[in-house]
Subunit: 356 residues, 2 copies
């Protein structure tokens, strides 16, 4: 069996017992029941994912997958394609957004070239290029199904290697000029929404570029006719190499019961691919922020994920996920480190006055 199929089969359910224990512990702590809101839900989820009622997620790794997109030939982007390759060194020297925020999060940053068009001249970037950029989805498939599987497996292998090295919390990030267009095409293909609903302004493109973008997405669907019931085919026809890699990271994390943070529009498109390949993977994902990109809300709805931060960010790179690591860690620390009413010698609440 292929690594992809093994991984998909390995993904299990949340651990109900650990969740119940975490819930009980949370209700015993010196605070009104439920008053930590989403952080309590997050702590319970972490317990279910890891099987540990007192989860520890201190070892944090952010995985950024980079790839290029043939559809830039349609004029859908404001940035020249060479920026994809140029940005990666700035990630690792800490001078780009994710460089600063991974340092701020106390997370290790792993950058993988799974499909950059040009040569990436930076020894820190892991070389796993499946092909130098996708084909133009407005004119044909992005890649073959074999290439899509290969890129997925690059992601799985990267996640597994980091988990082997001790990663207890993963975050996903993307780099790829033009990659909002295939992400919108994936949303349209899976959800059936129109190209206009799925398309967003990306790097705040003007109306003229926006029109080209909507038309490119429409053509991608018309020409490729992706079958929403066949997620591998959808990914190969209208997806991207870094999107496939990120879907692989998510599947690998879920298989190994490690929580994985979803970032913005592109990584959520990857999460939807992972979910379509294995719906159980959804339980292992944690949403971070609601991006400024129009289609992000629709993607999150497909996944039934609720973002916790509303920062109007539209940068990608894993920046929103990196910021959310602090919250996930907080959730884990609260259930681990707070005392119960008994332990702290604090009087109990009058339970007959509490809403049930």
């Amino acid at each position: 069996m292929s690594l992809l199929n093994r991984t998909i089969n390995e993904i299990g359910d949340l651990h109900a017992g650990a969740m119940e224990q975490a819930r009980k512990r949370l209700d015993s702590l010196i605070k009104p029941p439920g008053s930590l809101g989403v952080l309590e839900e997050m702590a319970v989820r972490l317990a279910g994912i890891t099987g540990n009622p007192l989860p520890d997620v201190q070892e944090k790794v952010i995985i950024v997958m980079a790839g290029d997109h043939g559809v830039v030939a349609e004029g859908v982007s404001v940035a020249p394609q060479e920026i994809t390759a140029q940005m990666l060194p700035a990630f690792l020297t800490g001078k780009a957004g994710i460089g600063v925020l991974s340092r701020h999060a106390g997370a290790r940053l792993v950058v993988v070239d799974v499909g950059v068009a040009g040569t990436v001249d930076c020894p820190g970037v892991r070389q796993r290029k499946v092909r130098p950029g996708t084909g133009n989805i407005a004119a044909g498939p992005a890649m073959s199904v074999e290439e899509a599987v290969e890129a997925l497996e690059v992601g799985i292998e990267t996640a597994l290697a980091e988990i082997d090295r001790g990663a207890a919390l993963l975050a996903t990030g993307d780099m790829g000029i033009g990659n909002t267009t295939p992400s919108s095409a994936l949303l349209a293909a899976f959800s059936g929404c129109s190209a206009a609903e799925a398309a967003g302004r990306g790097t705040l493109v003007n109306d003229q570029v926006m029109e080209l973008k909507v038309r490119a997405i429409e053509r991608a669907i018309e020409i490729n006719r992706p079958d929403p019931g066949n997620p591998l085919e959808v990914l190969a026809k209208v997806g991207g190499l870094e999107i496939a890699g990120l879907a692989g990271v998510i599947l690998g994390a879920a298989a190994k019961r490690v929580p994985v943070l979803i970032d913005g529009f592109i990584t959520t498109a990857a999460a939807l691919v992972a979910y379509k390949l294995q719906p159980r993977a959804g339980e292992f994902m944690i949403a971070s922020h609601l991006s400024g990109e129009q289609g992000h809300r629709l993607l999150l709805e497909q996944l039934d994920l609720a973002p916790v931060m509303h920062l109007k960010m539209r940068l990608g790179e894993g920046t929103g996920a990196a910021l959310t690591m602090h919250l996930v860690e907080a959730a884990a620390r609260l259930v681990r480190e707070m005392a119960s009413f008994d332990e702290a010698g604090v009087s109990g609440l009058e339970e007959d006055k509490i809403m049930v």
Copy 2:
């Protein structure tokens, strides 16, 4: 002139030059313009507050003010009053919510007894008790105007002392059983909204307690007839000692041009008092989360503040503000540490394609 009046007069405007410099720097960095969303707005605000286009907010202090409330005699709370005094040691030993989250934020935690009813048996808590709890606002004023000024000045002095010791970012937190009721009364008094609109479920009280709470707020307004044009009178009549102390912390921070994070419902009521005493103080406040308490949204609207996290928390203690410190620090670090397109040798964007 009193410390309170001196402080109010000292509060100035944001530094327009530093904001302009920060904006220019942000637009030069290797990211699409504006793509860091709220973090960019925050970085610009920090520049305006501090007068430094590359602000540094690493030295972080959370100030929790504690006080008790005579209105608990009306049966408005599910928690016995002695919990106020019992919780404070757990803050400082790190076993309560804010204990864990201040440690997680890398912030120093300062706890001040400005009006706890019982004796606080904990050497780490600063003793600045103005009186042992307020009067019952449903039957008369919470305190005298002199006591309100005294409590405000405790807050100012606490903020100034911490800023002298190097604090570059302050957060506010509250502890006081029953304190959602005076906070709701302050909201009703200043905004003119009804008691039912201003009241929330606090510690998730049931319908019976909720009815008592709404009636207590109604009576507090009827009996005290606070004049919304006289914020000191409103505070003395229907406020609280820790709320006054927190308003003082905010005024002190604003006077010294130090950004101050607002937490949930109670600290936002304190922020509204500070704003009514000196509208310019509003520019120095940063909202953190949207609390689960019903009236919080109305209070934030009065202040024209937008929360960045949606966590359904309803604990107080400064827990939401503590979590947001990570974001404020991220904003400062991004403008300080990211490279420009020129510095990083990354190609520029095609500006004629960007929306203006």
